[in-house]
């Protein structure tokens, strides 16, 4: 390849996705949000739907997602993203609508909203980021916190007799007839990142085909609030989280399988 002046030009083999803005992420070192953002953005770009996508931001560490995703975004109150997404999608049924929510948002204060959006089989896609802790407020116990896991509100470790069991969102959602695509993925290794991207692409494909509600749960590292170095946090995902939150596709509609 040559440029206009006849000089040799390097071939473009990789380009930053148009799905993200140039704003640097505010996330902590080793946090998985950046990777997950990029996967969602790449999928939207590759599917050619970026120009007609509306995202719903959560309250939590990803509250600033509107600074990063290069599409229209609306900020929801804590936990209410699925209800807001329902409203957006019903008015703009030909657009692509997604919510991006953490576990403090989706699996705690917003459990009712996500369950009922799925039960109604609303035609949007939810990216659910599970890092087993409330991140933004500084590491309190979340419903997804593992048994024995130390948090600032369970300094001796989550004990089942007082704080109950971790909430398994993918399994819960898979029981709902309206949730037509449910998968749990992780981003702790390159292989898993590629698998996660495939699942996210399928979840958006389900929406584009009008098949119903789709959710991808993504296991995510939180080195800061887990008190671990980033590589150790990735190992913690693999060794501690995955046994409790097994990866896999819980539901896949026939049309895309």
């Amino acid at each position: 390849m040559k440029d206009e002046g006849g000089r040799r030009k390097a071939a473009v083999s990789w380009r930053r996705t148009r799905g993200l803005t140039d704003t640097p992420f505010h996330y902590c070192p080793g946090c998985s949000h950046g990777v997950i953002h990029r996967l969602v953005a790449e999928v939207l770009d590759e599917l050619g739907v970026l120009e007609k996508t509306v995202g719903i931001c959560p309250v939590g560490c990803a509250v600033f997602a509107y600074n990063y995703f290069n599409c229209d975004m609306i900020e929801a109150a804590h936990g209410r993203a699925p209800a807001v997404a329902t409203g957006v999608k019903r008015v703009l049924p030909d657009r692509v609508v997604f919510t991006y929510q953490g576990d403090g948002d989706l699996a705690a204060i917003g459990t009712a909203e996500i369950v009922h959006a799925a039960a109604r089989s609303e035609r949007f896609t939810t990216i659910f980021v599970n890092n087993a802790v409330y991140g933004m407020t500084g590491g309190q116990m979340a419903p997804t916190t593992l048994l024995g896991q130390k948090t600032t509100t369970t300094p001796a470790g989550r004990e089942v007799s007082v704080a109950g069991f971790p909430l398994k969102v993918a399994e819960l959602m898979a029981t709902l007839d309206g949730a037509v695509y449910v998968a749990r993925v992780s981003v702790h290794s390159p292989k898993h990142i590629l698998q996660a991207k495939r699942a996210i692409r399928e979840a958006f494909k389900v929406q584009l085909d009008g098949l119903g509600f789709a959710l991808v749960e993504v296991l995510s590292a939180c080195p800061t609030n887990w008190g671990l170095a980033p590589p150790d946090a990735l190992r913690w995902v693999e060794e501690k989280m995955i046994p409790v939150y097994p990866l896999g596709k819980f539901k896949v509609p026939e049309e895309i399988s």
């Binding site: 900020e75 109150a77 403090g104 705690a108 204060i109 933004m136 369970t154 001796a156 007082v162």
Partner: protein, 392 residues
């Protein structure tokens, strides 16, 4: 002997809760309150209190769990702020309607949208009509002292109402100040053993809470809530008098600062009152008779006492860190209601300041006092309600 410490407002209230050792706390993290309950969770985990701490899934559930625990006969406390208090709104009315003496720290925060985590009074002002007693605190010391007194006020057998203790988010909750703690024993004996009233599961005297009451009795029930509120003021003063004996610190329905011979004055809640008092001093040094009234008990509002305190002034500015859009600031409306029955009353203007944590600076108080001087001299009001500290 008092223990002197340098702590944040959140730490101070958590320490009060440790000393009081409630039976149940149900809470949910929210900035800037999170640290308060987090510190309390450490007390629970370290066995410093016997409290059953319930980490629930939302503020709506937090207040619901508090209601259940209080109806069951427990001493109950929680804490929240901003959108968390807004989410509790339905349950606030249930707590007061059931006459449950729950004590809640409210770390004042703005409301969405746009999203903002900083301090203003929109949250507690939104809960103004919910039937809760409201005590407001200028600093960590007052938040600590008010928390201890709130239990006595709420649990008084002639009152039995929930009470919220407000302090400014971040400005007080997260900044370190000097505080004098009481020792544990005086706090415990001051608050006393919890006396349940009509607890559930008294098998000899079965109870129902919150049943359906339609047009036949609901109106009377609400009048009873109004009437009990009229008794709160005296209890607040009696508890304050007792607290002074224990602590040496004096509290009233509000703080009057250099008001006795004042011609112009500010009415202002919470942390900004501290800033404004310095400015009042500087005006006094210049021979200008300025003063300040800082409400403490906002619900029920002490109308007659406020009217007495302000009646001799020529001009008053009420500064509100919340707005009733399309109306006036909430404190302004109360002050005007208080003054209206007087035959001669000061001119009153309303300034909205500090929304979403915008700094309230001495210069703002200076400008407002200068405007009051002008009004006192000419009797002319430029504008009744105005936002100050606005970026143009």
């Amino acid at each position: 002997m008092a223990r002197v410490a340098a702590v944040t407002g959140n730490e101070a209230v958590a320490e009060a809760l440790r000393q009081i050792n409630p039976d149940v706390c149900a809470a949910y993290p929210i900035t800037p309150q999170t640290e308060l309950m987090q510190r309390f969770a450490a007390f629970v985990s370290n066995g410093k209190v016997d409290t059953e701490l319930i980490l629930v899934e939302s503020e709506h559930s937090a207040m619901s769990a508090c209601i259940g625990a209080a109806a069951a006969g427990g001493r109950v406390a929680t804490a929240t702020c901003g959108p968390g208090l807004a989410l509790m709104w339905e349950m606030l009315y249930v707590a007061s309607g059931m006459r449950l003496p729950i004590v809640m720290a409210v770390v004042n925060r703005s409301l969405s949208a746009p999203l903002n985590i900083h301090g203003d009074h929109s949250d507690a002002m939104g809960a103004r009509d919910s039937g809760w007693i409201q005590l407001w605190s200028e600093n960590a010391q007052e938040a600590y002292d008010n928390t201890i007194q709130a239990f006595r006020i709420a649990e008084n057998m002639n009152i039995r109402l929930p009470a919220m203790v407000c302090m400014d988010g971040f400005i007080i909750s997260h900044s370190i100040g000097r505080i004098e703690y009481l020792e544990d024993e005086p706090v415990r004996s001051f608050v006393g053993e919890y006396q349940p009233l009509n607890p559930l599961l008294d098998l000899d005297n079965p109870k129902s809470y919150g049943p359906l009451i339609l047009t036949d009795q609901y109106h009377e029930y609400k009048r009873a809530q109004h009437e009990v509120m009229t008794r709160v003021k005296d209890v607040v003063l009696a508890v304050a008098a007792e607290f002074e004996k224990v602590s040496g610190r004096r509290y009233g329905l509000f703080e009057s600062y250099r008001l006795d011979d004042a011609e112009i004055g500010l009415v202002i809640l919470n942390s900004a009152a501290g800033t404004a008092k310095d400015v009042v001093d500087s005006f006094r040094e210049r021979g200008i008779r300025a003063g300040l009234l800082k409400p403490r008990l906002f619900r029920p509002f002490p109308y007659e006492e406020v009217a007495q305190a302000l009646k001799g002034l020529k001009a008053v500015a009420v500064l509100d860190r919340a707005d009733s859009f399309g109306g006036y600031g909430p404190v302004f409306m109360e002050v005007c209601s208080a003054l209206y029955p007087l035959a001669e009353r000061p001119v009153v203007i309303n300034k909205i300041y500090g929304l979403g944590g915008r700094d309230f600076l001495p210069q703002h108080a200076e400008e407002v006092l200068a405007e009051l001087e002008e009004i006192a001299r000419t009797g002319k009001v430029r504008v009744a309600k105005e936002y100050i500290g606005v970026r143009e």
